[in-house]
Structures are given as structure tokens and as C-alpha cells.
């Protein structure tokens, strides 16, 4: 844990990716295979689940620190992170410092779940009073299930590739899937070159950036495959060794959630891997994503639900065919093989091939994109016909070209301080629209402003607070913001009657007064037109 804590500090104290990668390579070169395995798990966010309820953590930490629980909560508001609050409130101990191994800490996290509350508290007191500094902080972050190290998966792969002297694509592939560091060995995860990976392991997903240029700059439209961008769950369907696996992009194994796909075990040939979007589909077109959410969380799927929200996979790529990895082949070839494979009447209730949208020119494509919502999609995907299937997020061959968001001008009425690097800074705002002469809250947003805007707004909030309740301040209804969002649906849990999908601030409308903000009726109009 001591060496890992040093690595964490090195990563945390640098903003340069080259320094972060160098620190990781140096670390991997120094420590044992066992420690490496746990470190990799933490670095890519494969962390143990929160083992103890946070209410217990708060109660026990307050007792140890000798402060009342309200002061613990106030401290938490100021710090903006529970793990860090626990760390800062620990009294300076006279007990000698200990540095357990990462494995011991992981094992503790797993074991804690099964302990009685008394045993949990005793175990935590031991760690809390013998760990120091960064090690204590890391322990508490794991305890609250919120440990994040400031490196992307891409950087970890880069460092591992250098340490293992392998290419990044191989390492990215080997890291796929869910693995538990307590039951895996480093050499299982990264076997000798040439060894086949376990058959359930998915390929790394290829991801697109948002289009950052004029579409005309992409050249002849005929060199591109244009597809509708659908709103579902990106998934990889694997049929190997007589078994079927469905992985989400978040690398969750979702096979059991989608019984519809069961027949594919017999219908698809062995050695097939398909990339696509899993989406609720009925009567020839997609159902809103919200319908999918209602079924994804359930353990047991009723027959009724299966009938009401049937899922399909809209397939857009073929990665493995007859047991061969064909990711290096041009998209044109992969699509042709995909068509040959799934244009089969027996499959058509569950596997659809993504529609190849034909536009005479980019302008026609742009017109479609603008009205994308009318066609049950979020915009377009652009993929170069000659491109290979890449690893991770890359620029150049794949782009997403989403429709502009909906927007509403709203008045800020409440502010709350943020978390992490926004702690102690008012960054989370509640917005309202007019209903007659009262302001009705309808959305919360915290992204979209620049640091300079946040700073000046923070100052304004502190000076224009009307009322405080805990961490929340009611402010004078003065500032107007243009709020963007991706979707709108009716909701009886919200005062305004609507719930928005992914609301964020598009602009601070310093040119508008509160009276010029939109009304609840404007929102309801959007709901009528596009409501899901």
C-alpha cells in the first residue's frame, strides 16, 4: 500500500500525462505481480463495492473524532468528499503506523460485508488509527466506493504495454471483461504472447468522438457509412465454444438480462462476435430509452414486461467471423459478412442490421440530423467504409454527429456546493421556469460553465443568498441560463411535471432578465411534441 500510495501521489500531483505514464511504468517495474494486479484493478476502476453503509461510517467516525454528527455533516459539505472527510477528521494517533498490502486491503473490503456491525466498527477503528496520510485516504476512498485515480484507462494500457513490452491493442484486449483481483493471477490476465484468451473475453470497444469539423471536410459522402445514432445500450454479443455472452460497454456481463437473445446460442455459428446497440423495439421502430431503464434494473423479468418492452440488437459491426478476428478488415468487408450472417429470417426478431442511410450529399445528411428526433434517433454516426475496427476512442474514422439539444431559458433559484475539485464552490444549481408569477423548479445542472464563470457566479451567490438550508442556498432570482437537454418526459415526481434527460448549461444569458425566462407552458409544449 505504501508504494501504491506514492504512485497515487505522483499521479495526483501532476497534470502532465507523460509524467503519469512514467510514474506507472516505474511502479509496475518495481512491485510484485500480486501487487500489480491489485494496482491495475484500482487504476482502471475495478474496485471493490462499498462494504459498509455510509450512515455507519459517519456515525463511527464522528464518535472517534469526538464531534457531534451535525458537525460531521457540515465538514462533509465543506470538503465535498466523504472519504476525504473521514481522513481529515481522524485524530492524530499515538498508535504505531502500519502499512498493509493492497491485497490485505482488498480482502478486508470483501470481508467487511459479511461482518456484524460490531466487527465492522472494530476493524475500521484499527485501520483508521494505524493508517496515515495518503494510505488512510486511499483506504477511506475504497471504503466509500469512490476511489478514482487520475488516469484514463488508455494511459494505464499505455503504461502496462510499456512495462510488458507488448502492443497496446493486445493489452487493451487482455484487460477486458470483469475480473476479480482476489481470484485472478497477474499471469492469467496477461498470459505469454500467443496464448489464446479465455473465450468469454470481449474485444475492446471502438468509440467515436463528436464531430469537430464541417462534414464537408470529411470528403466524398460516398466514402462514409451513415447510420442513425440510436439511444440504447452499446453491447458486444459473443458466441464461442457453444456459449453466448453479452457484454455492455461498461463491461458488465448482461447475458441474463436479455433472455430474448437466448436462441442465438443455437442460431449463430460458433466463433461470432457482433457489435451493436441493444434497444427496445416494437412495431418497426425503437421505444424510448426510459422504457428500457424500467426493465434493466429488475432481477426477474415478467412475461408481461418481455412482451411490452421487447429488445433487439441493432447490429452494426462484425468483429469475429468463423473464429477469426477480422477487426483489421475494412468496414466494407465486415459489413458484407455481417449481412451474410444475419440477414436470415429466423434471426430477424432479435438481430437487425443497422440501416445504411443514403443521402445525395452532406447537406441532405445535415437536414436529416436536424430533424433526427422525428426519426427516433439522436443524430447520425459517420464511419469510413475503408476503416478498420479500432481500440478505444480515436479520431478520424468514426464520428458521432448528434442533433442539437433542446433548450429553455431558466432562472437560477438554488445553489449548492459541488464535490471533489468543486468542493467549497457553488457549482450545482437548480433552475426554474415561470408558472404565472411563481418560479417552478424543473432541472438541476452543474456542467457547461467555464471556471471563470463559476468563480464569478460563486462570489455572486455568496453575496446574494436569501436563505440557507444545510448546504443549499436560495439566491435572488436574477440570473438566466440557457439549459440544454436531450429529452423530456412526463413525471409526477417533479413539481414541474416533467423530467429532463441530461440537462446542462449551454450559456449564461447575461443579456436577459429573469422576467424574460421561459414558462412552464413552453416546457409542456416540448413535452407534447417530443415527450416520451
Amino acid at each position: 500500500m505504501r508504494v501504491f500510495a506514492q504512485l497515487f501521489e505522483a499521479i495526483d500531483s501532476s497534470t502532465k500525462t507523460s509524467r503519469k505514464v512514467a510514474a506507472m511504468v516505474d511502479y509496475f517495474d518495481r512491485v510484485s505481480d500480486e501487487e500489480k494486479l491489485f494496482a491495475v484493478a484500482l487504476l482502471i476502476g475495478n474496485k471493490p463495492k462499498r462494504p459498509v453503509a455510509t450512515t455507519s461510517l459517519r456515525e463511527w467516525a464522528s464518535a472517534l473524532a469526538g464531534i457531534p454528527s451535525w458537525l460531521f455533516e457540515e465538514s462533509y459539505y465543506a470538503v465535498g468528499d466523504l472519504g476525504e472527510t473521514l481522513t481529515l477528521l481522524m485524530p492524530q494517533q499515538s498508535r504505531p503506523e502500519e502499512t498493509p498490502t493492497l491485497k490485505a486491503v482488498f480482502a478486508t473490503m470483501t470481508a467487511l460485508r459479511k461482518y456484524s456491525p460490531m466487527e465492522q466498527r472494530e476493524t475500521l477503528y484499527t485501520f483508521w488509527t494505524t493508517l496515515r496520510g495518503t494510505a488512510l485516504f486511499l483506504f477511506n476512498k475504497m471504503l466509500t466506493g469512490s476511489l478514482r485515480v487520475g488516469v484514463s484507462r488508455k494511459l494505464v494500457i499505455n503504461a502496462l504495454a510499456r512495462h510488458l513490452d507488448r502492443d497496446e491493442a493486445t493489452v487493451a484486449h487482455q484487460l477486458m471483461g470483469k475480473w476479480d483481483p482476489l481470484t485472478t493471477r497477474f499471469t492469467d490476465l496477461f498470459p505469454q504472447q500467443g496464448t489464446a484468451l479465455p473465450h468469454h473475453i470481449p474485444y475492446p470497444f471502438y468509440l467515436a468522438y463528436a464531430l469537430d469539423r464541417e462534414p464537408a471536410d470529411l470528403g466524398d459522402i460516398n466514402n462514409w457509412l451513415l447510420e442513425k445514432k440510436l439511444d440504447g445500450i452499446r453491447g458486444q454479443l459473443i458466441r464461442r465454444n457453444g456459449e453466448l455472452f453479452i457484454w455492455s460497454r461498461g463491461e458488465d456481463l448482461l447475458t441474463d438480462k436479455f433472455p430474448e437473445f437466448g436462441p442465438l446460442t443455437t442460431l449463430l455459428p460458433d466463433g461470432t462476435v457482433i457489435d451493436g446497440e441493444i434497444i427496445p423495439w416494437k412495431d418497426g421502430h425503437p421505444l424510448p430509452f426510459a422504457r428500457m431503464q424500467t426493465r434493466i434494473g429488475r432481477k426477474n423479468l415478467s412475461a408481461k414486461m418481455l412482451q411490452e418492452v421487447p429488445l433487439v440488437m441493432v447490429c452494426f459491426d462484425l468483429l469475429e467471423y468463423e473464429g477469426r478476428d477480422i477487426r483489421h478488415e475494412p468496414l466494407l468487408i465486415r459489413r458484407a459478412q455481417l449481412a451474410a450472417l444475419i440477414d436470415n429470417p429466423a434471426l430477424q426478431r432479435i438481430l437487425l442490421r443497422s440501416e445504411e442511410m443514403a443521402f445525395p450529399d452532406w447537406q441532405a445528411a445535415a437536414d436529416f440530423r436536424e430533424r433526427a428526433r422525428q426519426f427516433h434517433c439522436e443524430g447520425l454516426m459517420l464511419k469510413q467504409w475503408q476503416s478498420a475496427y479500432g481500440v478505444g476512442r480515436r479520431k478520424g474514422d468514426w464520428w458521432k454527429w448528434k442533433a442539437d439539444p433542446f433548450s429553455i431559458d431558466a432562472v437560477m433559484i438554488y445553489a449548492q456546493s459541488g464535490h471533489g475539485r468543486r468542493a467549497n464552490l457553488y457549482t450545482d444549481y437548480t433552475f426554474a421556469v415561470w408558472d404565472g408569477d411563481t418560479l417552478v423548479p424543473f432541472a438541476k445542472a452543474y456542467s457547461g460553465l467555464t471556471d471563470t464563470e463559476i468563480k464569478s457566479l460563486d462570489r455572486w451567490i455568496k453575496q446574494n443568498t436569501v436563505e440557507k438550508f444545510g448546504p443549499v442556498r436560495r439566491v435572488k432570482p436574477v440570473h438566466v441560463f440557457e439549459i440544454g437537454f436531450e429529452g423530456v418526459q412526463a413525471s409526477n415526481r417533479h413539481k414541474s411535471g416533467v423530467a429532463l434527460r441530461f440537462p446542462r448549461m449551454l450559456r449564461w444569458r447575461l443579456d436577459k432578465t429573469a422576467a424574460e425566462a421561459n414558462t412552464k407552458d413552453d416546457l409542456l409544449d416540448l413535452l407534447r411534441l417530443y415527450g416520451q
Binding site: S14, P68, E74, S75, L89, R422
Partner: protein, 334 residues
């Protein structure tokens, strides 16, 4: 009964003597705890402050202001009320102001800290009935180490950066922290120490009081680059300004009590945060209450509602919030 001290729209007011302490609106007669800009504002008819505060007031507010200088412990009678200044340990010349009338004693702490920083006149507790205390870091998550431990961390980091062939930029408040850090670097004569104009100006003003600090002003003309391995002291506002381009290859750290929180450090995008504060942490605030023996506590700028509740509920003392317009200046500029 009217209180000896109370807040009105101009500042902390003593009606009996008709004077203000650290007023934020212009008044006839102002007693100034220390020279930071939120406590010493322009436009007052007369300023009463410690000898070491005076040159900074002149620097910031102009040479034409009227200043009466006092020493620590020297009693000043105004309309039968006795005022005296006592070391607050915050910066050079910073004072707690004691106000006594007919056996009743009030103390306004101004900004203060109990930890000795090696330069500021160390805090001396003043026994009183009524204590008006700041609360900038009035939550138990703020627990500061001795400044000397932090000075060592700073020197070690500077050495580490020198070995890596990069310059070291320390961002800290130009009045107070800059001098207490420089005061620890008198032995480091082999490598250049360079100062932003804001720091150099303060040093220049303090020279009149016999305080001398290492370091050369990095003049704006001619525009020169910092030599390798140098240590540069600048106010936080320099971060991200064109002035920083002259630093060559550098690492930058912020010195402030706020650096106790990870989020505060990351938000500012600095390489390192040194937890160095000229304010009391939670423990020191509590210790000050014990040392003064005060029976009534008034809490001003900072975590006033939280600290007031703590004193009232957990320490059983009558405490109330006193709303003032002082701000936290740790990351602001002169």
C-alpha cells in the same frame, strides 16, 4: 443596555468612544487590526494601527492618509474607553484590539493564529469577557501543522525541483506569508530568489521598519527569464497570467490553509499545495477561547454559523454570529 461593541453598516462600532474597528465604509476614526485589504480600507479620516502596519497602509492607501502609530500593549484613551493592541500572530504588525470600559473587557481578534511562524509577533492571549473571533477555518477538518514543518517541506520540494532542473514558483499572499517564507530562506544564498512586484513592494515598505528579506524583484523591464533552479514568490493572481511565461520550465505550488482540501488544490491546477495558513485552525480557535476565559463569544467571517453552534452546544458558552464584511483573503490579492 447597549453593548460596548456592535456591528453597524460601517463596521465594528464602539459608540461610547465613537470609533470603528476595521470599518468597511469610510468613518472618522478607524482602529486597524492589520493591513490586509479587507480590514484596512481607504477613505477613513484617521487610522490607528501598530507601527509595523503603518508602512503597508501608506503603500496601499497613499502617503496622504493620517496615521497614529501605537506599540503593543500601549493604552490609548478615547472618551474614557481604553484601547490597546496585542500581537495576533497573523502577520507582522497584526493586532487583537482590546477594548475596556468600567471593568468590562472586549477583544476583537482580527485575523489571528496561535502557531508561531517565526516572523510575526507571536500571539498573546488577552483575558476578556467578550471575544469577537474570526472563523475562517472553523471546522474540524482544518488541522494545521507547525509552519516550521511546512517550511521544511517547501525547501525539500525546491531542492527536488532544482535536481530536476526546473524552477520553483510559490504562490502565496504577498503580505504576510511571503515574508514569513523568505525569512526562512536567509541561508539559501547560492541560488537566486526572485520576487513578483507585489511581494517586492511589500518588502520595500517593511524595510522602513528595519525588516529585510532575501530576494530580488523580477523587474518588468527589461523582460528577463528566471535562471535555472530559481525560487520565485508571487501572489496567487499571477497563476495563468502572462507574467508566468518568464518562469521557463517550472513547477508551481500554492501556500494556503485551503490546500488542506484536495479539491481546492486540484481546482487551481497547481502541482502542489502547501498547507500554510495565517489563520487559526479549529483546534486553535478553541484554544483561544480557553486562553482568554471569555464568557461571551461572537463569531465573524468564515464558518460562523457552524462554529457558533459548536461553541454554544458543545462548549456551553453563549455564542452568536456577528455579520461582518471581512472576506477570506488567503487566495485573493493585495
Amino acid at each position: 443596555m447597549k453593548r460596548l461593541l456592535q456591528v453597524n453598516d460601517r463596521g465594528i462600532y464602539c459608540e461610547r468612544a465613537d470609533v470603528y474597528i476595521d470599518p468597511w465604509q469610510p468613518v472618522q476614526r478607524a482602529l486597524i487590526t492589520h493591513a490586509h485589504s479587507d480590514h484596512a480600507r481607504r477613505g477613513n479620516g484617521q487610522y490607528l494601527c501598530h507601527h509595523d502596519t503603518a508602512p503597508i497602509l501608506t503603500l496601499r492607501l497613499g502617503t496622504d492618509i493620517r496615521i497614529q502609530r501605537v506599540s503593543y500593549g500601549e493604552p490609548i484613551q478615547i472618551n474614557g474607553v481604553t484601547f490597546s493592541f496585542h500581537p495576533a500572530g497573523h502577520i507582522l504588525g497584526s493586532a487583537q484590539i482590546r477594548v475596556a470600559y468600567k471593568g468590562e473587557i472586549w477583544v476583537v481578534t482580527g485575523d489571528y493564529k496561535l502557531l508561531n511562524d517565526g516572523l510575526s509577533q507571536p500571539y498573546e492571549p488577552v483575558v476578556c469577557h467578550h471575544l469577537i473571533t474570526e472563523s475562517t477555518f472553523g471546522l474540524p477538518v482544518y488541522a494545521f501543522k507547525s509552519p516550521f514543518a511546512v517550511y521544511k517541506e517547501i525547501k525539500d520540494w525546491w531542492r527536488e525541483n532544482q535536481q530536476a532542473g526546473v524552477n520553483t514558483v510559490l504562490l502565496c499572499y504577498a503580505l504576510g506569508k511571503a515574508q514569513s517564507i523568505l525569512n526562512q530562506l536567509r541561508e539559501e544564498t547560492d541560488v537566486p530568489i526572485l520576487l513578483h512586484g507585489a511581494v517586492a513592494n511589500v518588502n520595500g515598505a517593511l524595510a522602513a521598519r528595519g525588516y529585510h528579506f532575501p530576494g530580488q524583484w523580477m523587474e518588468t523591464e527589461p523582460v528577463t527569464k528566471a535562471p535555472k533552479g530559481a525560487l520565485i514568490l508571487a501572489p496567487p493572481s499571477a497563476l495563468g497570467s502572462p507574467w508566468m511565461r518568464r518562469m521557463g520550465n517550472y513547477r508551481v505550488a500554492l501556500c494556503s490553509g485551503w490546500m488542506q482540501l484536495r479539491g481546492a488544490r486540484r481546482r487551481r491546477g497547481v502541482d502542489k499545495g502547501f498547507v500554510l495558513s495565517d489563520h487559526c485552525d479549529f483546534r486553535q480557535l478553541n484554544e483561544a477561547i480557553d486562553l482568554t476565559g471569555a464568557e461571551h463569544i461572537y463569531v465573524t467571517h468564515g464558518y460562523e454559523s457552524q462554529f457558533t453552534r459548536w461553541v454554544r452546544e458543545e462548549r456551553g458558552l453563549p455564542a452568536e454570529i456577528m455579520n461582518t464584511l471581512y472576506e477570506d483573503m488567503e487566495l485573493e490579492e493585495l
